[in-house]
């Protein structure tokens, strides 16, 4: 749905291919040739758990597969594999008729998430990406708390050639957003990407600060969007994070970062289900180009390319 704003980026494919060849998937190897046995169901469960899909979601998935199997849908492991992939991809497919992430009007994108997940880097990547697809992008350094949080974004802005609104450390992030919106209006920018300080979702005062920022955006009469950034290596806490951020300021889309590591980010199945918000991009590295449009099929395929949990010979 966001596709029309984007050019196809090759990087996720590359990343996925790398994963496939470097880690010979246990499941991929196992499923096509195997009968559907109790052991196979056990392996399936284990593989999903190992990818951080979570106990609940895993059980729900397997239940549905079992029902389909009981109805005679799967004769072989291969068919079962395809069934599982369909179910998984289905969970990530956003419902139709959602509003576009970036309408053509002036849009303020707030980038939020817990500490260290990759917000600042993602702001630079998104800004760069949107500016290359023809939008007039302004960055806003809303992290006035962390040491050199502002400097970090300023360096990125400089590297990708985008303007950046910033203030002193300790300054009020709401005021920066306010200034950024005014600057965008005055100078004709149509996208403002706002970096915010990392905050644990359990810190009431910091979540309140986000609400305040959101109110400022809303009062300006511009389109406000919230992107939640999740680290692929995060386990089940991601679900709690997502719920908290969504209930505090709403969440329109999710970015999963650090998918270039070995964590597969399986917790997003629960997150997407919980929020009803789609994953829009993934981060696949530390460079500004290491951003890819989310592709649920590729993502699910990468899950199946998991490294063998018990190091199979021949990997």
């Amino acid at each position: 749905m966001f596709r029309r704003f984007l050019r196809r980026d090759e990087r996720l494919d590359e990343g996925v291919r790398k994963t496939r060849s470097s880690f010979f998937g246990r499941l991929a190897a196992l499923l096509p040739r195997s009968e559907i046995t109790d052991d196979l169901w056990g392996e399936l469960e284990e593989t999903l758990i190992a990818a951080d899909v979570g106990v609940d979601t895993t059980e729900r998935l397997l239940e549905r597969l079992r029902a389909r199997h009981a109805a005679g849908e799967f004769g072989t492991g291969k068919e079962l594999s395809r069934g599982l992939q369909e179910e998984l991809a289905g969970l990530l497919r956003p419902p139709d008729g959602r509003e576009p992430l970036l309408p053509s009007d002036l849009t303020v994108v707030l980038t939020v998430g817990v500490n260290g997940v990759g917000k600042t880097t993602t702001v630079a990547k998104l800004g760069h990406h949107w500016s290359r697809s023809g939008r007039r992008v302004l960055l806003a350094a809303g992290d006035t708390f962390r040491a050199a949080g502002t400097e970090q974004l300023a360096i990125w802005a400089d590297r990708v050639g985008l303007p950046c609104v910033a203030a002193q450390r300790g300054g009020d992030p709401g005021a920066i957003v306010f200034d950024a919106i005014a600057a965008a209006r005055a100078r004709g920018f149509d996208v403002v990407v706002v970096d915010t300080a990392g905050r644990l979702h359990t810190k009431t005062n910091l979540m309140e600060e986000l609400r305040k920022i959101r109110r400022i955006v809303d009062r300006q009469g511009v389109v406000g969007r919230v992107i939640l950034v999740l680290d692929a290596a995060t386990g089940q806490n991601a679900v709690v994070q997502a719920r908290s951020f969504a209930s505090a300021i709403g969440t329109d889309a999710i970015v999963v970062t650090k998918l270039d590591g070995t964590a597969r980010g399986g917790m997003v199945f629960s997150v997407v289900r919980e929020l009803g918000a789609p994953v829009c991009f993934v981060g696949t590295g530390e460079k500004v180009g290491d951003l890819a449009e989310f592709d649920s099929e590729a993502f699910v395929a990468a899950l199946f390319a998991l490294e063998a949990p018990d190091d199979l010979p021949g990997n």
Partner: protein, 440 residues
């Protein structure tokens, strides 16, 4: 931090407790619940499997089946095995001759730079003279970040733009030696455990400087992948300890168990906030107590001593030990808690509270705390000192006076009783006995 896990275990043992004697099926059913809880807490599935095998091996059979208090036995075994898995509290090693080099490494964003500053402050508080070393030439403003933290804490920072990390770290050691610094702390760049080049880089730093401590800094929110990460860092570089960061959140922190299990190295420090003083030594006993829902009275007292006046803390401690802890103290404690820092972090340490707050979000938790305060404030001094006199009509009066319901008053009294019970047990220092009482 292990809130939900403790709740799960408690519920399991509540069930077992009511049934009296255990049979093999009961143990299996309990362990299935424990398995789910551990998996939900992000303990790696392989670690869970071996943990359960150990517990089961001990639980089924003589010890439990012939025991008079089976619940007590199962709790004890789970407790002991968790303790064993978490291992001893690790202490920081010191080089035979100064400076002692400490290298921090880990994945991107895990908290290395912040931990470097925290560790430097921690060492200086102990009378040491640390030097911070900015060995991350890659991340934008990484050096600036460390320099700002150094300036803020008045701790020197060694930075040489353009010098490769291994050479830079070696130079820093030489500089520290001639300047009479006792410790050098290398803040290395975040790196993926599968990044050949960057893994070789830290291996080279190690080779050139031979650090006394090589600490893997890991995020407490990490999922199943923790095992892989820890294994790789252990194999490729060799680590001497773990630092678990961001434990001030509500992550259940199962990664701690996983990483500890696969590397065999101790957890040395934990990060409990973004500020430079939010670093604590790791206490396996406390963590285990939390896992089992004991609350963390000892940590609370220690923190209290730092942030509120010592006299009151000592009195609180005395009261806890003698179990003369009344609603007045409960109220006082709640108020001090408010001043001590982020609410969740503190609430987890108060027995009874962490459980009570399970399903509420943070603003609701705040509301709830306010309501509890209001309820206590509507009581007479006598009622506060002797809560047992609060019968039905007094409850109705208190509810009216505090603008709450009788259910709220009941709830508060229950919470208080629960806290009191746990505190008595803590003061007695006999965990299993207390657990048995709670679960029967």
């Amino acid at each position: 931090m292990f809130d939900a896990l403790s709740d799960k275990l408690q519920r399991v043992f509540d069930q077992l407790g009511r049934k009296g004697k255990l049979n093999e099926q009961d143990v299996d059913r309990a362990l299935r619940e424990v398995r789910l809880a551990l998996l939900e807490a992000d303990v790696n599935f392989r670690v869970v499997r071996s943990f359960l095998d150990k517990v089961r091996g001990r639980a089924v059979g003589v010890e439990v089946l012939q025991s008079l208090t089976p619940t007590q036995q199962v709790v004890k075994i789970v407790h002991e095995e968790l303790m064993a898995l978490l291992g001893e509290a690790g202490r920081l090693a010191t080089a035979p001759s100064p400076p002692t080099a400490i290298m921090l490494l880990g994945l991107q964003g895990s908290g290395k730079t912040t931990t470097a500053a925290k560790l430097a402050l921690h060492l200086r508080k102990q009378g040491q003279r640390p030097l911070l070393v900015a060995a991350d030439p890659y991340r934008p403003a990484a050096v600036t970040q460390l320099e700002m933290l150094g300036r803020q804490l008045d701790i020197p920072v060694f930075a040489r733009p353009g010098v490769a990390p291994a050479a830079l770290c070696r130079d820093a050691v030489a500089e520290a030696r001639s300047a009479g610094q006792t410790h050098v702390i290398f803040d290395t760049a975040g790196r993926l455990h599968i990044d050949e080049q960057l893994m070789a880089e830290v291996a080279e730093i190690r080779q050139r400087t031979n650090p006394s401590e090589i600490l893997l800094v890991a995020d407490a929110m990490t999922g199943q992948d923790a095992v892989k990460v820890a294994e790789e860092f252990q194999q490729r570089v060799g680590i001497t300890g773990l630092v678990l960061t961001k434990l001030d959140g509500d992550a259940r922190g199962g990664a701690a168990l996983s990483m500890r299990d696969v590397t065999g190295v101790p957890i040395k420090l934990i990060g409990v906030g973004e500020r430079p003083d939010a670093l604590e030594l790791f206490h396996p006993d406390r963590l285990t107590s939390r896992i089992l829902g004991m609350g963390d009275v000892l940590s609370l007292i220690e923190r209290a001593q730092e942030s509120i006046d010592e006299e009151r803390a000592a009195e609180l401690q005395r009261k806890l030990r003698s179990a003369r802890f009344d609603l007045e103290d409960f109220l006082d404690q709640m108020r001090q808690v408010k001043r001590m820092g982020p609410l969740t972090q503190i609430m987890q340490m108060i027995p009874g509270l962490s459980r009570a707050m399970r399903d509420t979000d943070q603003s609701a938790a705040d509301q709830s705390l306010k309501r509890m305060e209001a309820v206590i404030l509507s009581m007479t001094p006598e009622e506060r000192h002797h809560p047992e006199i609060i019968g039905g009509s007094r409850r109705r009066r208190i509810a009216r006076g505090s603008g709450s319901s009788v259910a709220d008053v009941n709830q508060l009294l229950n919470q208080f009783r629960q806290a009191l019970q746990m505190m008595k047990a803590m003061a007695g220092g006999k965990v299993p006995k207390h657990m048995a009482r709670l679960f029967q």
